[in-house]
Symmetry: D2
Subunit: 149 residues, 4 copies
């Protein structure tokens, strides 16, 4: 589906919002692509982000799934709106065992108040990419609320 | 519901597993309580864990919700079993705005293969505790697989 | 948590809405209790409602989980509001094998726009009640929209 | 993704299972297509299946989403296996207002024990098809258990 963003400056708005999330910098996530209704984030492996088997922690996989959904949705929203995640559901499909995590999300429905996204998280090991998680999210558009304090 | 753990040494097993998760140390999460079918984890606020409004990041809230569910379930499992999260669904109910995050989870059903947990995440601000997220998780018991590489 | 309904006539409003759902009559569901932020629905077994093993169909279990959540939430809403389910997540915990299905739901958070509920579905077999499903739902309040065409 | 079914007779096995679900006959659902890892079910409108606004009831939408996921997964399973839904999460995206409901599901991951599916439900009104719900499901394969009592 081709979406037309209301805010032509959506890429800058999202890049700016991403960089105001200290947690993204802390884990060294990278905003790799934003298109109308689409977002992609990459996260290189770091032992600090791992669980007891040495794989990316499920919480990190969920973080990436949540953030790509949020920015995919936010790309379509008004300049003057803020966004919050209402809920997300994440299936952990394969162990997140690899050197890089790639999250991709697409807007399924951009509604007046609520937006629904589907997201995939892939893990890359020795160059091979594999689906490791899939999620479905609901986001809410808060109109006339700035995306910062 | 009162559960009887199969492994009398479950507290040590879980404490040990928790401390083998580098991500828990990285964010400075603390394992505060483990009982049969129950787990509680605390996480003090740190700006590194925040999103663009300065609140705990949704991914961090999800991390805590996932980990309390995992250890609540793991408390009932066999000594020789490992555990994986199959999926979780998280509702973000109020902004996670505060100095401390408290996650609590209870096992709803401990099954032969799958275990279902419900978790609550509270945020404490100026000493006042408020529900900020609620989740429901499915965990799988992997028999005869050690909880480390 | 004790909720105070905005509409003192909420019981009649919900009873009336329930009876305008032809599907509830078709499957012979009974609205058994409504309190502020709480709802209970019963459904006697009928072979027509079963799946291939003769148990209540998962879709029927989901129907009851969804409807108790909807009416638990609706009990707190404005007289002039309508309600829609945004999403729900249902864990099927035990086979729904029995003569009666009992759904119970409680509001976890009644918000300005969104309401979050947790619901349990029990199955009664030979008089013994057992948890067979658990769900978590998000509902939206549509203000100034009547609950009928 | 192209899946190769273990049971070459999977179409007959699924058709047979579908017709042993009395609830499918009761609501007059039709099994329209089964391929390896894919299933499609249609459901013509009937007032008996509606909620208070005259649209398909959310429970019916969930029923179709659950059943297409179940049979998409079951198409890949062993001849001697039975299947159960572990959980599903359903977003209701648009009112299910129309003359026909179309459910389609695809297997995202067929695992040794668990299978993950994504499903879409469309509503057709005056010949126009619109996405009205999206779901994500987890199914379990019960080996050496027949799909009937």
């Amino acid at each position: 589906m081709a979406y037309i963003p209301k805010d032509p400056d959506y890429i800058n708005r999202i890049t700016d919002s991403f960089h105001r999330q200290p947690f993204m910098e802390f884990i060294r996530a990278e905003l790799v692509a934003v298109e109308p209704g689409y977002c992609e984030i990459h996260l290189p492996y770091d032992k600090n982000l791992s669980q007891q088997h040495g794989f990316f922690h499920a919480g990190i996989v969920g973080t990436i799934a949540d953030n790509v959904a949020g920015y995919a949705a936010y790309s379509l929203m008004d300049k003057a709106s803020s966004i919050l995640t209402v809920e997300f559901k994440l299936n952990l499909i394969s162990p997140a065992d690899g050197e890089l995590l790639i999250g991709k999300s697409e807007v399924l429905k951009y509604g007046k108040t609520l937006t629904i996204c589907r997201s995939d998280v892939f893990v890359v090991k020795n160059g091979n990419q594999k689906l490791c998680a899939a999620s479905q999210s609901t986001l809410i558009e808060l109109r006339e609320q700035k995306d910062y304090k």
